[in-house]
Amino acid sequence: MPRYAQLIIGPAGSGKSTYCNNLYQHCQSVGRVIHIVNLDPAAEHFEYPVALDIRELISLDDVMDELKLGPNGGLVYCMEYLEDNLDDWLSEQLEDYIDDDYLVFDCPGQIELYSHIPVLRTFVDHLKKWDFAVCAVYMLDSQFASDVTKYISGCMASLSAMVQLEIPHVNILTKMDLLPNKSKVDKFLDPDARLLLGDLNDQMAPRFQKLNKALAELVDDYSMVSFLPLDIRDEESIQFVLSHIDNAIQFGEDAEVKVKDYDADMGDPEDAENFDVGNIDDD
């Protein structure tokens, strides 16, 4: 049976770690087990228990001190070091997690990692090789849904990560609880090409009309660039997001089928639990 993984990516300050923390608490309250892995060598304190920490392998401060690198260069070095040690260190660490375990990787926020440097790509490929079902979860601050041009730029950034990683992809608008006017965001959650085009043409100089059209069509044709709202204060919202991600990596689907077999034979209680979890997700 495969193992499952969420890869939490997105620009700095988009709420990745907060999401991880809330997800952990949510899962605890519904009786589901997840493990959170920290991949950010610059992170310092965590509100969630860290199952596995990249800082055990390498610390950003050491790198910055010893190699005289700036914060950025240091981070890139750390990530490339991780890439080199994927087979030794990470695979060893991940051996503890067996079938059906659910891991969440909290990634650093540097945009370069998702577009320029193939580290994350290699990382994902390795996870896939180790029989993980991986889903990229792209976090975007909800201020990006405040007007149409920002929305497009958010879409582009998300697309750029999507193209690079080539795995199931879920986009999430975070910090919905901070938005004063939620109804304004609704049109971006389920965008309509014509409305979007109209707005874009209003906002941009006339010579961009063709580009606007192409973009609006792209957003319309590919529901991949649609966003899910996340309000971390609201349990249901977390559940909603989680069920979407589970759906993308088909978490629980295997369990359901097998449980039926086992039910007839011996009624394995452990799998029956999984069955329940799967069911809740579908709600």
């Binding site: 620009p11 700095a12 310092e44 320029h116 041009t149 580009l211 973009l215 792209l218 809740i280």
Partner: protein
């Protein structure tokens, strides 16, 4: 938000002010030393072009800046240099205005207990609160300048995606012709997928800033940028390259190619090498072309946006003033920490208010609405026992 935070920002504010004073003197001194050879200032009120240099970390922004500054000196163009990267340790060129003179990045990190990223972001936020003064400085010397070169933090998202980045860009754009230069790391972009994700990112920047955008393919000494130009000009060729490279969803890549093909129509591009200095003439020619474009296409729109923003600003000021009055009334003459700390101004204004309201609401629920609580309990039970 603790009192400590606010105190620090006030200190910062003060130091900013004094530093700006110093800067004024320095920049005046520099102008006299640096440009004795240039021709006498032209009589018309020709405004300098602001060139904002943006790029991914490691794309060679700072080196390119160095080269641009050197080129300005060589050719007698009168340039003015701004550094907005608080984390840079040594700057190869002399900056007329340096964010590091105003904000000490290391101190910000320590005082606020932030990581490197948060430190840079906060430094930039603090700087943005005083950015009108920077624009003022540039404006004063506008008649004797040709180019204002702006270096941005290595973390691209901090400049392009943060509120302070937007404030800085808009402050410039509303006063001067402004061009955004997106520096592309050419050797790293030889893979079609990386190229595509780079271009998508650039497209995002175009939509975020709504300013003329030019691509500078850097490091042409390592890899010539002809391949990129070919891809940008010939849709079919790029399509072929993408399909050769990966078996990625053909439909998506085709649509993306189409989008990008339109995107390229609105772009200027130039190949440069920061190391050898190749392509510098072309770079400045392109900047001039962008200036014309700005004047023709962006000016009017920007004026409208400026008006809009002023209206919002006015609104905000009124709200803040009201808040201040309320605070004064509440404190009854005791000393109070100002309600409108600069940090808050820069970030979401409404955030805190919204949160407050929320909390109040929740408290209400707890104390009064017992019925609601019961319902929630039932829901939870349903989850558990389903």
């Amino acid at each position: 938000m603790s009192d400590v935070d606010l105190d620090i920002s006030d200190e910062e504010k003060e130091s900013t002010r004094t530093d700006f004073e110093k800067l004024k003197l320095e920049s005046k001194g520099k102008a006299v030393e640096d440009k004795p050879s240039t021709s006498s200032p032209t009589t018309d009120v020709k405004k300098p072009i602001i060139v904002i240099v943006i790029g991914m970390a490691g794309s060679g922004k700072t080196t390119l800046m160095h080269r641009l500054v050197a080129h300005c000196h060589e050719t007698g163009k009168r340039g003015y240099v701004l550094n907005l990267d608080p984390a840079v340790t040594n700057l190869p060129y002399g900056a007329n205005i340096d964010i590091r003179d105003t904000v000490k990045y290391k101190n910000v990190m320590k005082e606020y207990g932030l990581g490197p990223n948060g430190g840079i972001l906060t430094s930039l936020n603090l700087f943005a609160t005083k950015f009108d003064e920077v624009v003022g400085l540039v404006e004063k010397r506008a008649s004797e300048l040709d180019y204002v070169l702006v270096d941005t933090p290595g973390q691209i998202e901090i400049f392009t995606w943060s509120a302070s980045g937007a404030i800085i860009t808009e402050a410039f754009a509303s006063t001067f012709p402004t061009v955004v230069t997106y520096v592309v790391d050419t050797p790293r972009s030889t893979s079609p997928v990386t190229f595509m994700s780079n271009m998508l990112y650039a497209c995002g920047i175009l939509y975020k800033t709504r300013l003329p955008l030019m691509l500078a393919f850097n490091k042409t000494d390592v890899t010539q940028h002809e391949f990129a130009v070919e891809w940008m000009e010939d849709f079919e060729k790029f399509q072929d390259a993408v399909e050769c490279d990966k078996s990625y969803n053909a439909n998506l890549s085709r649509s993306l190619c189409l989008v990008l093909d339109e995107f390229y129509q609105n772009l200027h591009n130039v190949g440069v090498s920061a190391v050898t200095g190749a392509g510098m003439e072309k770079f400045f020619q392109t900047v001039d072309a962008c200036r014309v474009e700005y004047m023709e296409n962006y000016r009017k729109e920007l004026d409208e946006r400026k008006k809009e923003r002023e209206a919002i600003e006015e609104e905000r000021r009124r709200a803040n003033l009201a808040k201040l009055e309320r605070d004064i009334a509440e404190s009854k003459g005791q000393s109070v920490v100002p309600a409108s700390a600069p940090k808050k101004d820069v970030l979401h204004n409404e955030d805190d208010e919204v949160t407050d309201v929320r909390e109040e609401e929740e408290e209400d629920y707890d104390s009064e609405a017992d019925d609601d609580d019961d319902e929630e309990d039932d829901d939870e039970k349903l989850y558990r026992y389903q």
